[in-house]
């Protein structure tokens, strides 16, 4: 089924809808300092992430991970891969 297929697909965090939850798969590429920081604050594989808001002027979205809300620019969030909860 196509629905199951898309569910198991890895996609960047930026494709999450507002209010949608997913499980982090890992980073698609390692971009040095920012990737390390993302891992430090808990964007590690297996962790649940929820998109909780979007900046009114765009460019940034807020993600809830491990009980903390962190705002990320799209450029950085796009390196994080996630898949929908089974």
């Amino acid at each position: 089924m196509t629905d199951d297929f898309t569910k198991s697909q890895s996609r960047p965090l930026t494709e999450l809808k507002l209010g949608e939850s997913a499980v982090i798969d890992g980073l698609s590429e390692h971009r040095g300092a920012i990737s390390n920081r993302l891992l430090d604050i808990g964007f590690t594989s297996g962790c649940t992430v929820e998109c909780v808001g979007e900046s009114p002027l765009g460019g940034m979205r807020a993600y809830l991970v491990r009980g903390t809300v962190t705002a990320l620019r799209h450029n950085d969030a796009s390196t994080i891969l996630c898949r929908s909860k089974a």
């Binding site: 971009r31 300092a33 920012i34 390390n36 920081r37 993302l38 891992l39 430090d40 604050i41 808990g42 590690t44 297996g46 962790c47 909780v52 808001g53 979007e54 900046s55 009114p56 002027l57 765009g58 460019g59 940034m60 807020a62 809830l64 991970v65 491990r66 009980g67 903390t68 809300v69 962190t70 705002a71 990320l72 620019r73 450029n75 950085d76």
Partner: protein, 614 residues
């Protein structure tokens, strides 16, 4: 004192978990605290009295990990692990790991890293009161068993759990090396943290339900910008409305104090020259600085601290990040700009929260475009003169004040954009911005702390500068050189420069002499116009405008004075801070020259336009 035996304990933890609050509660010190990550930028040291003697406690800047990927994290790692070589630092005898009970899982990431390196660790789970309100319960005995180190629940704001923390500290310091548990070992820290959190933390319902609601207002798609503008306007309106009568009352009282000082000098039979130097020089400027500065500061600082404690500031950075991104700057620059409203020097120091070197320089250089608390009352007083001149009321005045501040912010953005296209070429880099949970500010605490810690501090600094500056300008006015006072020679010299920008020599002279503290611009102008003659009496804001008008001020003069007050060189404290932060004469010079040139050019343009049209 036996320094060898004084034990050191490091207080570590993620940013914004209340380390400084715990530190203050344990040491009785008054480090400034606020609800946003990165508030503490350098490690403060204090003393804790315990049953095993005095211990020096180090408040380590917040860090997310010990991998030392940013300057603060490097500092944090040095404090926690010690460092050999240059600037050698002994590893602390113990580490207190402060965690936020509301998001224990993420806090455990750092805690576990520290526990892998250190055997004497105490985990202090702070903000338990907050967690309870959110329906989060932590099983502390389970956590203690799993971690194998003491776990102390705390609500440091209310002093809960601090005795237990001190007791645990004494106990762990007394333990023999052999009696210590082995260093914690786990294969994968993120997985272990998630496991621990699953076992020991219980959440009932959605703990963030209130935050979600508040974020819909303060960071919502349609409401965020109007709300931020409204808050800015409200803060200014309240400050200005409440400050004017207070200022008038203060100048009335200080007028008596001045008359009393003159009488006292007479009674003491001081020589005329000395009593004149004291009364017409030092006291004149000092009292005017106090009456102009104290009321707005005493109102502004508590208001700002309330917003800070509430957790609003990071939301502003979040809302306006795209503006900063388009200007090649970091979104956190919004935070440092807001700190600049309080004091530009503090804003410049705050730029340490920006990781990228290039973006930090941009933030430092453009910080002085927002009016600090020193220039704020000056601009307000000048605008009152303008409004009286134009026959407009206080609402017009507040609106002008707000739009002027917005102009300052926009100018700061424009200059940021210019810098990232030229001198500091580059595009905006990556960063993460934590949006902390909203916390109800402790109103009484905030008012007292901000009054005593910030207001008195800034006022004392201004007063320390105002007294000698008053003496200098008095001397300039009273030392004659071939029939003309030095001051009039000096102002005559500056007259053409001033006239070109719609001002005059006295005003330029006041701007130059107020380099140590912008607060004294107005008193210096008054003294300059009175130039060695009789003292101008203490004036209310209304009579101030008559005074300036009688010295040839037009609306254009007032407008140019306002613009130049908003945009000119930063005060000397800020300049020194910029040098300390950048270690570069070149960038310090840029931070001085860029606003000076821009401010002067705008004044020249305004003056030219006014001559063409009027």
């Amino acid at each position: 004192m036996d320094n060898e035996k004084q034990r050191t304990v490091a207080l570590a933890g993620n940013p914004n978990v209340g380390k400084s609050t715990v530190f203050n509660a344990l040491t009785g010190m008054r480090q400034h605290t606020g609800n946003w990550p990165g508030k503490t930028v350098s490690g403060a040291v204090g003393t804790v009295h315990t049953s095993v003697g005095d211990i020096s406690l180090v408040d380590v800047p917040g860090a997310y990990s010990l991998s030392a990927r940013s300057p603060e994290e490097e500092i944090a790692r040095d404090y926690i692990c010690g460092r050999s070589g240059i600037g050698e630092r002994k590893a602390p005898d113990a580490v207190i790991c402060v965690c936020d009970a509301c998001c224990l899982e993420r806090n455990l990431l750092l805690t576990l890293q520290i526990m892998k390196l250190h055997r004497r660790v105490i985990v202090c789970v702070n903000l338990c009161d907050e967690a309870e309100k959110r329906g989060i319960t932590v099983d502390f005995s389970c956590l203690e068993k799993r971690l194998g180190v003491p776990v102390v629940p705390c609500a440091a704001r209310y002093g809960v759990g601090l005795e237990e923390l001190t007791a645990a500290l004494s106990k762990i310091l007394m333990l023999d090396d052999n009696a210590l548990p082995p260093k914690f070992d786990c294969a994968d820290i993120p997985i272990t943290a998630a496991e621990l959190s699953r076992e020991c933390v219980n959440e009932v319902g959605d703990p963030r339900v209130l935050d979600r609601r508040l974020d819909r207002i303060f960071a919502g798609k349609f409401s965020a910008i109007p709300v931020s503008l409204f808050l800015l306007a409200a803060v200014f309106f309240i400050t200005l409305r409440a400050a004017t009568p207070l200022s008038d009352a203060l100048s009335f009282i200080l007028g008596y104090a001045e008359a009393f000082a003159v009488k006292a000098c007479d009674l003491l039979r001081l020589p005329d020259i000395v009593s004149s130097a004291i009364c017409d020089g030092i006291l004149c400027v000092l009292f005017r600085v106090i009456s102009v500065m104290l009321p707005p500061m005493a109102i502004f600082f508590p208001l700002f601290t309330l917003l800070e404690d509430f957790g609003y500031l990071p939301r502003v950075a979040y809302t306006f990040d795209n503006c900063f991104c388009k200007c090649g700057a970091c979104g956190k620059q919004a935070l440092t700009l807001m700190m600049g409203f309080g004091c530009n020097a503090a804003g410049v120091t705050g730029c340490r929260i920006i990781d990228s070197e290039r973006e930090r320089l941009i933030a430092i250089i453009t910080n002085s475009f927002v009016p600090c608390n020193g220039r704020f009352p000056v601009i307000s007083a000048l605008l009152i003169i303008l409004c009286t001149n134009l026959g407009r009321g206080s609402f017009f005045h507040s609106a002008l004040m707000c739009s002027l501040t917005l102009c300052g912010i926009i100018l700061s953005l424009v200059v940021s954009r210019f810098l990232s296209r030229t001198l500091l070429h580059g595009t905006s880099s990556s960063f993460t911005l934590e949006l902390p949970p909203y916390r109800a500010p402790q109103i009484g605490h905030v008012i007292i702390r901000s009054l005593f810690d910030r207001t008195v501090f800034v006022l004392a600094r201004a007063a320390a500068v105002a007294a000698p500056a008053g003496l200098i300008i008095w001397a300039l006015g009273n030392i004659s050189f071939g029939g003309e006072s030095l001051l009039s020679c000096f102002t005559a010299l500056l007259d053409p420069i001033g006239h070109l920008a719609g001002m005059d020599g006295v005003m330029m002279c006041a701007f130059i002499l107020s380099l140590p503290a912008s607060e004294i611009i107005l008193p210096l102008m008054i003294m300059g116009y009175e130039c060695g003659g009789t003292m101008a009496p203490m004036m209310s804001t209304a009579s101030l405008s008559d005074f300036f008008i009688s010295h040839g001020w037009s609306s254009v003069t007032a407008i140019c004075a306002v613009i130049f007050t908003l945009v000119h060189w930063p005060c000397s404290t800020t300049v020194i801070t910029i040098y300390k932060e950048t270690h570069s004469i070149k960038w310090t010079a840029a931070a001085v020259l860029i606003p000076t040139v821009i401010g002067y050019s705008i004044c020249v343009a305004v003056n030219a336009v006014s001559h063409i049209f009027f």
